[in-house]
């Protein structure tokens, strides 16, 4: 029986829980034994290193991993490949991407760019006077964090300077950045703090949908209505898309964790069968599992799907 491993960043993020569901279902379908691992918190590199090693020790055929640190895990993953395992990065690419045999991921920069472009188009001429708040992940500034943040600003038409550094831009439209730890409580507090700096904020970028939900609570408490502020986010989880339908989040870039997981498990099955590896999306160094902008306020020049469609696909 073929064995495969799924190693996620944490078990506390519904995105990874979904990913695990997808992988487990696919593995069952293909008759593969799936072992799952996770770190205790985001950034928990050592647990992931230990997990990769355990997979090698267990004689797995391949590993699906969402690296907690796109650079730090390279050595152990290389070791796994040297031991004949197929390693596939999910969600977060390695740096460089070819550390893994293949990557099934959202293009996080692209995801950010889509919501940035959308926000600019939505504001039209008012974009020149936008007051922008950016709600990021945590002080560690990991790759998803700067890719989405940078993508958003780029899409909005702002010069991001060092693409790996958050907060080095000098565009006066930016009110500030704050961290949310990717959850509702952090989202609310960060939004409150930025509103203190400028109560006229009208564009809010959020790292993910829980942070967006928290930000909305703060805006509501500050007396704002959904029409006063544009909130954009990334993920496209079912609760997030429902928030789009209800007009709380204006647009979100939807990712497809179940697809990532299923494709990954299939790739390992094929590798076990005939030793073939999946190929990347032409023109990219990874297999783009796609990202779709979900919004009920489509704008010209930015392709999007409605929340109704999004709800059907949510985390499919």
């Amino acid at each position: 029986e073929t064995k495969a491993c799924l190693i996620t960043k944490t078990d506390t993020n519904p995105f990874f829980v979904k990913m695990k569901e997808g992988a487990t279902a696919k593995a069952q379908e293909l008759g593969i034994e799936l072992m799952t691992f996770a770190g205790k918190i985001d950034g928990d590199v050592e647990s992931q290193v230990a997990a990769v090693e355990s997979c090698i020790a267990a004689g797995a055929k391949g590993i699906l991993i969402t690296p907690s640190d796109s650079r730090a895990l390279a050595p152990v993953v290389t070791e796994a490949r040297e031991n004949g395992l197929l390693v596939i990065a999910l969600d977060t690419p390695f740096e460089p991407a070819d550390v893994a045999d293949a990557t099934f991921a959202t293009d996080n920069f692209r995801a950010g760019e889509l919501i940035g472009m959308w926000a600019r188009a939505k504001l039209g001429d008012e974009a020149a006077n936008a007051r922008i708040a950016l709600l990021d992940l945590n002080p560690s500034e990991v790759s998803v964090d700067y890719l989405r943040d940078g993508g958003f600003l780029h899409g909005f038409g702002i010069d991001i300077k060092d693409p790996t550094d958050i907060g080095d831009e000098d565009d006066p439209r930016i009110v500030g950045h704050d961290v949310t730890n990717g959850n509702e409580e952090g989202g609310r507090k960060a939004m409150e703090n930025l509103l203190q700096i400028d109560p006229n904020i009208n564009v809010v970028y959020t790292i993910n949908e829980p942070a967006a939900a928290g930000a909305w609570e703060a805006l509501k408490a500050a007396g704002k209505s959904a029409d006063d502020v544009i909130i954009v986010s990334v993920d496209g989880g079912c609760p997030g898309v429902r928030n789009v339908a209800e007009g709380i989040i204006d647009a979100t870039a939807q990712q497809y964790p179940l697809r990532m997981a299923a494709l990954g498990v299939e790739a390992i099955a094929r590798w076990a069968e005939d030793g073939s590896k999946p190929a990347p999306t032409p023109g990219k160094d990874f297999f783009d599992t796609g990202v779709a902008l979900v919004t009920d306020q489509p704008v010209e020049g930015v392709p999007s799907i409605s929340s109704e469609e999004g709800l059907k696909l949510c985390w499919g």
């Binding site: 730890n181 959850n183 409580e185 829980p210």
Partner: protein
Amino acid sequence: MNDVADRSPGATEAEAGLAGAASAVAEFQPRRRTLLDHIQHVLHNNPTLVPVIVLALSLVAFGIIAGERFFSPFNLSLIMQQVSIIGMLAAAQSLIILTAGIDLSVAAIMVLMSVVMGNLAVNMGVPTPIAIVAGFAGGAAAGLLNGVLITRVKLPPFITTLGTWNVFFALNLWLSGAQSIRSQDIDEKAPLLKFFGESIQLGGAKITFGVILMVLMFLALWYMLNHTAWGRHVYAVGDDPEAAELSGIRTERVLLSVYTLAGFLCALAGWAAIGRVGSISPQSFYEGNLQSITAVVIGGISLFGGRGSILGALFGALIVGVFQSGLRIAGVDVLWQVFAIGWLIIIAVAIDQWIRRVSA
């Protein structure tokens, strides 16, 4: 049996000299004092003044640095809101630290119980009041588990709560399936869960019921600690548990009541957190345990137990809140906020130590 009720019939030879002994206790002339001595002395007799002064100073400092925006009633009331949940945890933590214990599991109990309430009321359709009461019971039970391990199995509090922290954290993930419960779903199915998010407007300030709850919690605990026998026993147990036991206090019961009450207060904080955050998120407040301890120590409550006023913890929490808000508004990077809080802990406690060093 001979009846010897008269005084000193068999006094030993040496004691003959006692006749006419001065009966006053030794007294010495008071020493002259510098201004600094004087300040130290005043603060020594009113140790809760220390965090109050630190709070006042940081308010002034950030008023200058961050400008008037910082000083608006709105911002000040906002700080209160931001502080409210950690403040309640700090209240629970203070009780435990007063008994010379420590609780690394407060935030885990709080989050677990808000997940329990939400699961029951929103996902399983249990009537909200019952869900809330179930959360309270769960919090008290979690606290009681800590208490039993500490008093019966005689494990050190640090170790006990390090262990149960892991246990509660795991249960939280399991119960919630790592999923948040959305604000709108709560509004629809169990709006009572958000009760503490409601607010009253007072001029520019917005006072949430959560903030009021926090203040009332501190006042009630202050009353209990200072004006009931139970409170005196909490201090006595923290001060010297053996002496307390021998002088007639059932120390085990006191400890059990303290841990159980703390667990209950955490559940109450869990309810209030739903109102504060708007939704129920199993991932929030991961650092709440250490943040509550930080507030308590900045507030001047001794980690060795038995000393300090619970109101100090309130001021401690506010000091941290003022720092975070002030630095944010002044546009300081998060990482330097972390840095500043680190030094704040050290300096606040150093001042407190300096104050306490004087003998009364």
